[in-house]
Symmetry: C2
């Protein structure tokens, strides 16, 4: 069957796959200073945000991504007080970060304010912590921000970026990871969304090489399901400053004071498992 | 964008999603006695098998499904000698089962011989163990076979079926699971492919209810990635006769004598993790 315009389809040419969501109506379309932003209402996945034709998130399944981009990193850092989020303009990662009582400052640095304004309107549940006194939202260049950050000024840095094309390209480089390393405290954790373990092997290798090259003592890819991204099998990659990525605060994770839908201590342990193909076929762990 | 006929698209109306693979050419089309069987060559996923319009498997990603449908169940049974596969006509599960040295008999009962003949031609790597002297392929009705099976004659029963519509509907019922229970030895394991934890909540609940109703002492759903199935997040559900599904032969799994691409002991442990949403939203564990 062919899929007509009642579907929003994102084709991944290099993957040879496409993923589509059935659309009720387009709610918003805007050419921002940086990208084309669209919001749709879908029949079964709630609201859908699209940037430059790429699916960013839906109401229904974003919890998987946002929980896995935040909680493993925060429970790996020994005492996460100061957290920096680069990208993440939809504010879903910020919300998860602020669930941690130890956090005193959570800065979200997204270059495009329009994304956050759209999220406030169409994904209000993701923005419910934006007025938390510990939250700080800045709409500036994250690469420059990290380059100029004070040494050891963050305990966790989360790269919640779009794909490594366009403005996000600089977020996948050794130079950027080295600046993050400098800005991280001892035992600090960098986490980067790192695409699909089924179809983005070269990128995953490059991320590992760049993180290792930047001086981190341990680099580990954690896979998780993310239905609306290519292949539905996604990952984040943790890089730790002078500690092991497998060494997380298990007791604190087991006794966490907040609710989650996907993450818990067993899921965290499970995500640290390395499928043989990671080593044998991708060349990562 | 619309997707034209250069893509094979499967729409899941109830999920509001569609998944598509870019096609090079159609290699085979046949109305079998039971269903419409198509084989395509794709640009990036190798060969694709389709039954009645539903994607069954591709060369590229079937290892995820086949490994997770077999190894957790076989490493949970205390000493799997006799294994029954209902469905599984592509022979990929059979191949994985026969990797276990303890297995003396692996019977594959698929109602449609045409599926196996097509698999031999287009997925020869999945059929490489079909001539193993321990393998037995029968093309008959699996529901009847199990109803007439001797008590305690199998150690593992694998329901490697299509979706619960058409001929596979009877494979998701309490009556069928009860016949499996009777046919299983003490500590024996039934495993059923159980669809998506994101979009098939009602079916997952029904499977658990039916398995519990049939007398199994423990029922547990193990999620895993499966890119070409709706949502890309899939699952199998284990039901154990008088033992715990979490109690598997860890030492044997750690020391397994054969290669896998996704499964290993850590993945097995990880798949036994229960995301909070399983309990809070689906009502399963």
């Amino acid at each position: 069957m062919a899929l007509d315009e009642t579907w929003f389809s994102e084709a991944c040419e290099e993957c040879g796959t496409a993923f589509s969501l059935k659309i009720k109506e387009k709610l918003h379309e805007q050419q921002t200073e940086f990208q084309k932003l669209e919001i749709y209402d879908t029949t079964a996945f709630g609201k859908l945000m699209v940037l430059d034709g790429f699916i960013m998130l839906t109401t229904r399944d974003n919890f998987l991504y946002h929980e896995m981009m935040s909680h493993p990193a925060l429970f790996t850092a020994p005492h996460p007080r100061r957290v920096l989020i680069i990208g993440g303009g939809d504010c879903g990662t910020l919300r998860e970060v602020l669930k941690h009582d130890s956090v005193e400052l959570a800065q979200q640095i997204d270059i495009d304010e329009a994304v956050t304004r759209a999220s406030e309107k169409y994904f209000p549940e993701l923005c419910e912590s934006n007025n938390d006194p510990r939250a700080e939202l800045k709409f500036i260049d994250g690469i420059k921000w990290v380059a100029e950050a004070e040494a050891e000024s963050y305990d966790v840095i989360i790269i919640d970026s779009t794909d490594p094309v366009g403005p996000a390209k600089g977020l996948f480089t050794e130079a950027f990871y080295r600046n993050c390393y400098r800005a991280l405290s001892e035992g600090g954790v960098l986490v980067q969304q790192s695409e699909s373990p089924l179809v983005h092997h070269r990128l995953l290798r490059e991320i590992h090489e760049a993180m290792n090259g930047a001086g981190y003592s341990d680099v580990k890819t954690l896979p998780f399901p993310q239905p609306v991204y290519p292949s539905g099998w996604w990952s984040c990659t943790l890089a730790v400053k002078n500690d092991r990525a497998t060494n997380f605060r298990e007791r604190d994770s087991a006794n966490k004071s907040f609710a989650t839908r996907y993450y818990n201590i067993d899921i965290h342990r499970g995500a640290l498992a390395t499928p043989p193909m990671f080593i044998d076929e991708i060349g990562i762990r």
